[in-house]
């Protein structure tokens, strides 16, 4: 397997920026993807944006000394997401239930994506994409949760367009300053 596809491995130095046209296309894809999430069109997000071989990981972030070999996170330990297609599908099923009370009444979602860097890889169908996000969720009258983080994505170009094959999500919070995560990143 390419290192790129190993969910436990970070991107190597990204030094192969793609041409403007590809960058424009992938940037558009990223914006369209989060628009589906903001609109809670989760099933569509799954079927249109996600590759069947998806690995989707968001570890818990710990505070450790700089010289601690474990570092802030470790693959195989506690995580918010460590999903393949099967797990993502279960989460989407819950959203689609009328009794998903944490989403009824409806949550107001916003994902802001920036710092997009698109890089070519040794496989011409795969792109290594780095981005950062701000996610705001607001419910009821004044319940607001804000999560910031960065993402390391691998997109696969296929006949139907791009699909997300791998995503590593690193939020900046240690204690999640929210009661839940009723969204994807």
């Amino acid at each position: 397997m390419l290192d790129l596809l190993d969910i436990s491995k970070p991107f190597a130095d990204l030094d192969a920026p793609v041409d403007l046209e590809t960058e424009r296309a992938i940037t558009r894809w990223l914006h369209a993807e989060v628009r589906l999430l903001d609109a809670e069109r989760y099933q569509e997000w799954l079927t249109r944006c996600i590759d069947p071989d998806i690995r989707y990981w968001m570890p818990d972030m710990e505070t450790r000394r700089r010289d601690d070999p474990r570092g802030m996170f470790a693959y195989g330990e506690a995580a918010y997401f460590d999903d393949s297609w099967k797990e993502l599908e279960i989460r989407v099923k819950r959203y689609n239930e009328p009794s998903a009370w944490a989403d009824n009444p409806q949550t107001r979602h916003l994902h802001q994506i920036s710092n997009i860097e698109v890089n070519a890889t040794e496989d011409p169908t795969l792109f290594a994409v780095h981005s950062v996000f701000t996610n705001v969720r607001n419910r009821n009258e004044a319940d607001q949760d804000i999560v910031h983080g960065r993402r390391e994505d691998v997109l696969r170009a296929g006949p139907g367009g791009y699909r997300l094959l791998r995503r590593r999500v690193f939020i900046v919070q240690n204690v999640l300053l929210s009661k839940n995560l009723n969204t994807f990143f």
């Binding site: 818990d60 505070t63 996170f73 506690a78 797990e87 819950r94 944490a102 204690v175 009723n182």
Partner: protein, 466 residues
């Protein structure tokens, strides 16, 4: 303070550990009305009540600190809280575990800033550089200033130790009360139920690495009472999660009337349906269900028939005051109080050490998918507890005491099991006893009264259950 004119040692500091004394708060104890099965809503929002809880409950009870497996070697440590007090739990060179307040006796700064670490030689305060050994003693001070000061009594100074630390089958607990009874006495015969998860196989248990921490704007007692005996909420709150994972609602099975019960000792409580794999099934991995079926067969010799049926059953448990777990789903958690209206929730996954690696991995993912902030069950709990807390800011709203009266006639005096037994898991019995225990802590300033009140176990043996 005496810089001039005082003779001898009169002005030297007394740096011996200080442990608080308990008081008596009978007015707060009366907020729990046993006769009417009601709880006054002020217990969830009142600042005075909350401060009394920190003094009466969190400064005296045995509180969960860590699993032995998190700190296997000398110098391994984790940072946690006891109530709102920041605490370091550290493995000593003689392999015992000690715990200390994470506050420098100089100006009070934290001496440990990280969540955990391994093989530490000590802790150095970032402010003026005082350094402490893993035994808590002051080892050194930065530079030579103190060494030249003849009145400086280094040997007197150290991190304040948690008064007692002990462990039960892998779980380490501590209490700030030097006079607290032993951990085993604090549990009483409730260990009979703890063993369902802690001793169902050879080789003991371990926590999977890492912890998920989150904040919920609720009073700590709502989640604690939820796990002590509120399976009722699962049908409504968790409908969507059950549909997503099981393709159907929560089902207590055909033998509910015959099997399900609640048990309570000293406010600790478990409710279980004895259906073998109901909780495990909700993790969504059939391999785990097979594993628990096998485990349950093997465990009959160790635990007897009844408890072997509880390993994966639809069930939940709280150790008074704020440590909870779900048998079968293997999530273990502490609801740390952070004021009357806020908690920090810390969640771990427990597995049997001798379980195959792929089974451990499925538990890790299964708990993530269900009982973590993005999990399909936990997702829907938080808002209920937040609004159950927050509405009581309404002056008029909080005048109406709450209803805890399900199953008033359900006491089961025939079943020979330890503790107060009530028929059926759909029952407020354990929650009534949880709040009765809460009231006992408010009422009494001594352990003799605390251990001999209404929540104390009725005198009987567990022999028939074996």
């Amino acid at each position: 303070m005496c810089d001039t004119g005082c003779a001898g040692n009169a002005g030297r500091p007394n740096m011996a550990p200080v442990y608080p004394k308990a008081g008596r708060y009978p007015d707060y104890a009366r907020l729990v009305d046993r006769n009417r099965a009601q709880v006054d809503r002020r217990v969830f929002v009142d600042e005075g009540v909350y401060q009394a809880e920190l003094q009466q409950i969190f400064a005296r009870s045995w509180l969960f600190l860590a699993h032995e497996s998190q700190i296997p070697n000398p110098g391994d440590f984790i940072r946690t809280s006891m109530g709102e007090d920041d605490v370091i739990v550290v493995r000593q060179r003689d392999r015992t575990v000690r715990a200390f307040l994470n506050s420098c006796p100089h100006r009070g700064n934290r001496v440990c800033m990280v969540d955990a670490g391994s093989k530490a030689r000590g802790f150095i305060c970032n402010y003026h550089g005082w350094s402490f050994g893993i035994d808590g003693g002051l080892r050194g001070t930065d530079g030579k200033v103190y060494e030249k000061d003849e009145t400086f009594e280094k040997a007197q100074i150290g991190l304040t130790p948690v008064a007692q630390v002990d462990s039960y089958k892998g779980l380490i607990f501590g209490t700030f009360d030097p006079n607290a009874p032993s951990l085993l006495e604090f549990f009483g015969p409730f260990t009979f139920y703890l063993d369902i998860m802690l001793d169902n196989d050879e080789g003991g248990t371990e926590f999977i690495g890492g912890a998920i921490k989150s904040e919920i704007d609720c009073n700590w007692k709502f989640p604690a009472e939820n796990f002590v005996g509120d399976i009722l909420h699962a049908f409504w709150t968790h409908q969507s999660g059950a549909q997503a994972i099981l393709g159907g609602g929560v089902d207590l099975g055909k033998r509910y009337d015959e099997l399900a019960f609640q048990a309570s000792v000293y406010g600790h409580g478990i409710e279980t349906n004895l259906d073998k794999v109901g909780n495990t099934r909700t993790l969504g991995y059939p391999e785990l269900v097979d594993y628990v079926f096998d485990l349950s067969e093997r465990a009959r010799d160790r635990l007897g028939d009844l408890r072997s049926r509880a390993i994966g059953a639809i069930s939940s448990c709280t150790i008074f005051p704020n440590f909870s777990f779900l048998p079968g789903q293997n999530t273990f958690r502490v609801w740390h109080p952070r004021g009357p209206g806020k908690i920090e929730l810390v969640v771990w996954t427990l597995v049997n050490k001798n379980a195959p690696d792929h089974i451990k991995e499925l538990y890790r993912k299964g708990v993530m998918m269900t009982f973590s902030p993005g999990g399909v069950f936990e997702m829907d709990d938080g808002e209920n507890w937040e609004y159950s807390t927050r509405v009581n800011q309404g002056f008029v709203t909080r005048q109406q005491p709450l209803h805890y009266a399900l199953g008033l006639q359900s006491a089961d005096l025939d079943r020979d099991l330890p503790g107060h037994i009530h028929k059926g898991s759909l029952n407020d019995a354990n929650q009534r006893l949880f709040y009765t225990r809460w009231a006992e802590f408010m009422e009494h300033d001594n352990w003799t009264d605390l251990q001999n009140g209404e929540t104390a176990p009725p005198q009987k043996t567990a022999s028939a259950a074996e």
